[in-house]
């Protein structure tokens, strides 16, 4: 029993990352019906950008290093949001009248460009890069499991960001405009909503969340690689589908469930089965409930 609780604890931690990245997938899907396969690579690029910035400003070992991580995190969120917005502006927006399948293929292309772009960039490249700062092992025990303060902070930060998005989409006028654009772009235009701007903002938010997840990945796991976006992208996509793609709460819920399922699965079968468990869960979900847990029609849609 306590073993199960441990796996659930680990799963929630893992799910926090999935959820953050899944939110970006889900929001973009909600507004454009586009599965943005490049989203995981925004996350990957963000990890490299934060690596470089942290290296440039130097973090040392003082107590101030965590403040450095925080402001670098914010800067990276803005940069990644900007990158996502730029991708939308240069690639997806000119294709707005094209079939959605064309956009998806463009997204796959963009994903390749970003991965190979990082691969050929001097100082980045194909090797694993070691992050200049990692979270210390100190922490607290819960049951028989040890959690670090870093893990707790990561879960809390993810939770706050997700709540922020939930509030933004659910309560603010901008959020209502996002939902309006999601439902009927022409009608939204007729309300005086600048649809292109709203879509750009959605890309920005999705990118920024991926940026936050990337910085936290870097400082927690300590190393990054140019292919890291591919796996996380697929897992986050799975999380978004599990929860009901296009749904804000669903992305977070799907992230947590995927994290827990994967954590329990690897506890039973071993770590090399992580992706098998994740995609197995996806197949089962698509089989029994294709709309996801909070299927698009019933709950709040982005």
């Amino acid at each position: 029993m306590s073993l199960l609780l441990n796996e659930i604890g680990n799963g929630i931690f893992l799910g926090a990352f999935f959820g953050l990245v899944a939110l970006g997938y889900s929001m973009v899907y909600g507004i454009l019906r586009l599965i943005n396969f490049a989203h995981g690579d925004f996350y990957m690029v963000a990890a490299f950008v934060s690596f470089t910035i942290l290296g440039a400003v130097g973090v040392g070992h003082s107590h101030n290093q965590w403040w450095t991580v925080v402001w670098v995190g914010v800067v990276v969120m803005v940069i990644t949001g900007g990158l996502a917005m730029l991708a939308n502006q240069l690639i997806y927006r000119p294709m707005r009248r094209a079939a959605i399948l064309s956009l998806m293929i463009a997204a796959i292309g963009l994903s390749q460009v970003l991965e190979n772009g990082v691969l050929v960039t001097p100082r980045w490249g194909a090797t694993y890069l070691v992050f200049p700062v990692t979270t210390p092992p100190s922490g607290f025990s819960l049951g028989s499991n040890h959690y670090t303060w870093g893990q707790l902070v990561i879960v809390l930060v993810s939770g706050l960001l997700a709540l922020g998005v939930y509030f933004l989409v659910g309560r603010t006028l901008l959020g209502k405009a996002m939902r309006a654009v999601s439902e009927d772009r022409i009608a939204a235009t007729l309300m005086g909503i600048n649809v292109d701007l709203v879509i750009a903002i959605v890309f920005f938010i999705g990118g920024a969340l991926a940026g936050a997840a990337a910085v936290m990945t870097g400082v927690y796991y300590g190393q990054i690689n140019y292919l890291m976006g591919f796996t996380v992208g697929l897992e986050a996509f799975t999380a978004a589908v599990l929860g009901g793609i296009g749904n804000i709460g669903g992305a977070v819920l799907g992230g947590l469930i995927l994290g827990i399922v994967q954590s329990i699965g690897t506890g039973i079968f071993g770590a090399e089965w992580a992706l098998v468990v994740a995609f197995g869960a996806l197949v089962l979900m698509l089989w029994f409930r294709p709309t996801g847990l909070l299927g698009e029609r019933v709950a709040r849609r982005m």
């Binding site: 006028l173 405009a177 439902e183 022409i186 007729l190 309300m191 005086g192 909503i193 600048n194 709040r300």
Partner: protein
Amino acid sequence: MKALELSGVSVYYGAVRGAEDVTLDVDEGEIVALLGANGAGKSTLLKAISGIIHPRRGSIAFFGDDLGKLSAHRRVSRGLVHVPEGRRIFTTLTIGENLELGAYGTQHSRTERAQRLEEVLGLFPLLKQHFQRLAGTLSGGEQQVLAIGRAMMSNPRVLMIDEPSLGLDPQKVDIVYDMLEEVSALGTTVLLVEQNVSLALEIASRAYVLQQGSVVLSGPSASLVGDPRLADAYLGKAGGAKD
């Protein structure tokens, strides 16, 4: 003052003609009807005026200013609002949220918007009653009331409305038309697209009749009632004289 002035407007969907050389005007405070059979180009003209599509030729002026290629959402903030065919309310949003979005295009402050909301709810009490409900749960007539209420949230100078009676039972049609008269009484100029001729001519002071994208007949409502050319336009007979 002319609220709307179209001169020589032609609209094409690719190679397909939607409207050809249409010239018409709407005076401030007037209710003007655009009549014609299905596919005559009525909705096309409204879309061109609201900026969803851009005409290939001709110009559209709003209170004397040429709208040119001004984007659709900017036209709303100028006070030109279009209630599209089929109402197109946001079904997954609440009534209240739909209304709030109606004021999105205005530069109004939060308090101004709240005040406007009270005014609109005062005008259309039905909306107040269902404020928290999802708009998709409303009946067709209620949805039309919401669509008009939503449009009125921006306090428009010109309200264009496309087929407000479509799919409604006669009782609901009366309610909607009463609303339009109220809107007009508030000083809002109305451009009405309607297939139901007698209904439209009842509240409009003037009307234009479209056939195959062109104006074939126009004049004061009273003179059009009973004009045989009007029936011809609907029955698709060619040769309705251009006046």
